[in-house]
């Protein structure tokens, strides 16, 4: 067992846990986008940052990847943490305003402005779909490509992957894609990440077939309509 201080509270948790797991176990909420129980931690969205260490030498780390350490001081909602989270959410809103998850998080953190040039992207490259495909579906059909601003998710050489079973798990887990199931007009409700962006192994013709697996999904409504 390892003893650490979460927001001043002395707690004992098992060795090998991450700060995020410890904090959630103790009831401290930490927002995440790229974390999912059952998938390996990745640390891409940086929303889960917490402040560790003691004054004056403190630093921010992503709680989902940082292992608990003996005697570690952790603050999950300090001013510095909140400031960073709000900026990240503002950036997320600037790029992916359609996502319900991101909208909810932004409203939770009381974001009232978005100062960047508005973009409409569908993917925040959280990597959930990649890890889902590899770790839970044992397929490894999709992966990251390129770096920096050109980074994207797809299959090798952009051709349909033989490893893809069209299970739809990637779409199911996508946090930027959830608008699909909640929008009022089904035709416009599809975020398009599955067809237009990634994974490209789903081609337009196969889209309808695939949708049969998805429950609940507006695509079924389209079919009926």
């Amino acid at each position: 067992m390892i003893t650490l201080y979460l927001n001043g509270l002395e707690v004992s948790v098992e060795e090998g846990m991450t700060i995020l797991e410890a904090a959630r176990f103790m009831g401290f909420p930490i927002p995440t986008l790229c974390h999912q129980d059952g998938l390996s931690p990745y640390g891409a969205c940086r929303l889960c940052v917490v402040e560790i260490g003691e004054e004056p030498k403190t630093k921010l780390v992503s709680s989902c990847t940082y292992p608990v350490e003996e005697g570690l001081h952790v603050r999950t909602a300090s001013q510095r943490v909140m400031h960073a989270r709000r900026m990240i959410l503002e950036l997320l809103l600037g790029s992916c305003p359609q996502s319900k998850t991101i909208q909810d998080l932004a409203s939770m953190y009381n974001i009232r402005q978005q100062r960047f040039r508005q973009e409409y992207e569908n993917c925040i490259l959280c990597g959930l779909c990649v890890r889902m495909c590899e770790e839970q579906m044992m397929a490894k059909a999709i992966g990251f490509r390129s770096r920096g601003e050109n980074r994207s998710i797809g299959t090798p050489f952009d051709i349909q992957s033989e490893d893809c079973r069209r299970c739809g798990a990637c779409i199911y887990i996508c946090p930027a894609c959830q608008l699909r199931c909640t929008y009022t007009e089904p035709e416009r409700a599809i975020c398009g990440s599955c067809v237009n962006l990634s994974p490209p192994c789903l081609e337009k013709e196969e889209f309808k077939d695939m949708m049969c697996y998805m429950e609940p999904c507006v695509a079924c409504e389209i079919k009926k309509g």
Binding site: A44, E69, M87, L91, R115, G143, R147, G148, N150, R151
Partner: protein
């Protein structure tokens, strides 16, 4: 080459090589690193060889082809030993003359280096101001050694440090020596090397330990590591062998970027020679110490210089940083303990063992010992690689070694530490160059890039340039680093286009501080430095761009206009050179630029002989 079977045999070989040397024979040294070859050093080598064959001179003079000596501005050059005569910018015709002069023992006055301040000719290399102020422990060895001849290295004390360490049979003492030498990692962060090694030595491991030489040098305008690898690859191998012996490492890896073909070639030759001589492999020099080095080529991602990303890349995965802890020293390549050091750090090891730590600490300042190679580039007279003791003032480096600004311009700033470093304004040039002082003023030491800028450099444009580099080279894993650099670039682009608003400055600062705070790896954490440091020291330049829609340095295209003043003699040269036919005017009458047609390429300004074209 026969395998050297024991330490005594090595000393015999070294003594034999040293007595066989012809130190009295005049030697023509031609530096042929990548920079030299690009300037035509290969032609000089061919001509010298031809002359030597034709005139049967091989008994009377020697030719040595080496790596870069550092004065890249003056390539291709030739250095004559033992007199120390230096001939800069040698043309193919003049090379024939130089060979003849060397045989006769003459000096060609008209080809010597001209001092830019006094106008006098300087004969000897050591008297040239560029070389005079340097302390060239590492680069100086480049002159002595032909990188593809291992015997050449051995006769210049090469591999002696390795033999010394192996004969002492005390790995702990090696670590103690490195620790007391105060050597700090030359890759940028400045972590004490001895301490790192000690931790690796203490780390238990069943399946071996790794040491890595990080030669993934990606900073634009920096090429210190390349010159060392090209010019003296054996010194790096020797450093790694000593490191392996001290820490108990079983495998070494040199991670070189594929864009360095000559460095890779020389390194592969060096590896082959070292293996043949038995310096690598099983039971090195008859001791029971075994160690081998492999080379891994990087595919050119800047982020792979970060240690966790480098490990991933060596493992064959995508070059992405991962969370530390666990540190590479606990869990590195394939889960084994790993130490990663920069090329320059490894090259320093044989020198420390050779000189002894007490001698080594005499150079530099307390806490920052030894020398550091910088690649001094930008708007100064002498550009090239300079090796100076740590703690030298920036002033001295820029004005004395670098020769000061070109054309009487005023120096504005230096940018240190590569793309994620910061800009240090001219009023702070009294600062010593060491890890702490540079960090304090918002820059970093980095691997040693140093770009000098004068008043014709726009700081907003500089920040934009580096941000463009970073947004392309960020690995993209962290959302904040990927999007943050993109957004910072976007805002800077707006400012340079004259669309900037006052709110942009606070937004830049706010965003920069969050990117710095929340990114995973060193790249992300230092990526806002160009923006934050220019905002800190050159805020008025940003304000000028935003409020007055004016670029004081005359760089940002959308904020400047070209104008022909009364100096114009009507020579029509600018009219002929204008690509968009924007200049009108009769012969011997003052010309006028048509603003609607002008594409602001600056061709008129560069061809005008009367300084009649102004930027407003």
């Amino acid at each position: 080459m026969e395998k050297v079977k024991s330490i005594d045999e090595f000393y015999l070989l070294r003594d034999r090589l040293m007595t066989d040397r012809h130190l009295d024979l005049p030697t023509i040294i031609i530096p042929a690193g990548t920079c030299g070859q690009a300037c035509g050093a290969n032609d000089l080598i061919r001509i010298t060889k031809r002359e030597m064959l034709h005139k049967k001179l091989s008994e009377r003079i020697q030719l040595r082809i080496t790596g870069c000596h550092g004065f890249c501005e003056m390539e291709p050059s030739a250095l004559i030993e033992p007199s120390g005569t230096f001939y800069p910018r040698v043309s193919a015709q003049n090379m024939v003359r130089i060979v003849e002069a060397v045989i006769k023992g003459e000096i060609l006055e008209d080809l010597l280096y001209i001092d830019q301040e006094t106008g006098n000719r300087i004969e000897k290399q050591i008297d040239i101001p560029f070389f005079k102020k340097q302390v060239r422990t590492l680069l100086g060895r480049n002159e002595k050694v032909d990188p593809i001849r291992v015997f050449n290295y051995i006769e210049n004390k090469g591999y002696s440090a390795m033999a010394k360490v192996l004969s002492l049979k005390d790995p702990h003492r090696v670590i103690e020596e490195i620790k007391s030498s105060g050597l700090r990692g030359r890759g940028g962060a400045g972590f004490p090397t001895g301490l790192k090694w000690e931790r690796l030595a203490k780390q238990p491991s069943r399946n071996g330990k790794f040491i890595v030489c990080n030669a993934d040098e990606g900073d634009p305008g920096a090429y210190m590591d390349r010159s060392l690898l090209e010019g003296n690859p054996h010194s790096i191998l020797e450093g790694m062998i000593i490191g392996a012996y001290a820490t108990g490492a079983t495998e070494g890896i040199v991670y070189v970027r594929n864009e360095y073909p000559l460095a890779i070639k020389h390194l592969l030759i060096a590896l082959r020679q070292a293996t043949q001589l038995g310096f690598l492999g099983k039971d090195i020099l008859g001791t029971n110490f075994s160690f081998d080095i492999k080379m891994v080529r990087g595919a050119g991602a800047f982020v792979c210089g970060e240690e966790t990303a480098l490990i991933k890349s060596i493992e064959g995965k995508m070059g992405e940083p991962t969370q530390r802890p666990p540190y590479p020293i606990q869990k590195g390549i394939h889960g084994q303990p790993t130490v990663i050091n920069n090329v320059e750090t490894w090259a320093n090891i044989p020198i420390i063992i050779d000189l002894g730590p007490h001698e080594y600490v005499k150079v530099g300042t307390k806490g920052n010992t030894g020398t550091k190679i910088f690649s001094l580039v930008g708007k100064i007279k002498n550009t090239g690689l300079v090796e100076v003791p740590m703690g030298m003032e920036i002033e001295k480096m820029v004005n004395e070694i670098g020769g000061g600004p070109v054309n009487q311009a005023k120096m504005k700033a230096v940018q240190t530490g590569g793309p994620s470093g910061g800009c240090i304004p001219a009023k702070m040039f009294h600062l010593p160059i060491d890890y702490e002082s540079l960090t304090q003023v918002g820059s970093i030491m980095g691997s040693g890039g140093m770009i000098a800028m004068d008043e014709h450099t726009c700081m907003v444009d500089v920040a934009k340039y580096f941000m463009k580099f970073l947004k392309e080279e960020s690995c993209g894993k962290c959302f904040i680093c990927r999007k943050g650099t993109q957004r910072m670039y976007e805002i800077l682009d707006e400012i340079t286009n004259g669309e900037g608003k006052m709110e942009h400055l606070t937004l830049l600062e706010e965003l920069g501080s969050v990117v710095k705070d929340t990114s995973l790896c060193g790249l992300g954490q230092t990526s806002p430095n160009p923006v934050l440091s220019t905002l800190r020291y050159f805020r008025e330049e940003y304000l000028e761009h935003i409020e007055k829609k004016r670029c004081p340095a005359g760089v940002c295209k959308n904020l400047i206009t070209y104008f022909i003043n009364e100096n114009c003699t009507g020579c029509q040269l600018c009219i002929k050179n204008c690509p968009s036919e924007a200049i009108e005017g009769k012969k011997k009458e003052r010309h006028v630029i048509n603003m609607e047609k002008c594409i602001k390429c600056g061709a008129c300004k560069s061809v005008c002989k009367f300084d009649a074209v102004e930027i407003r």
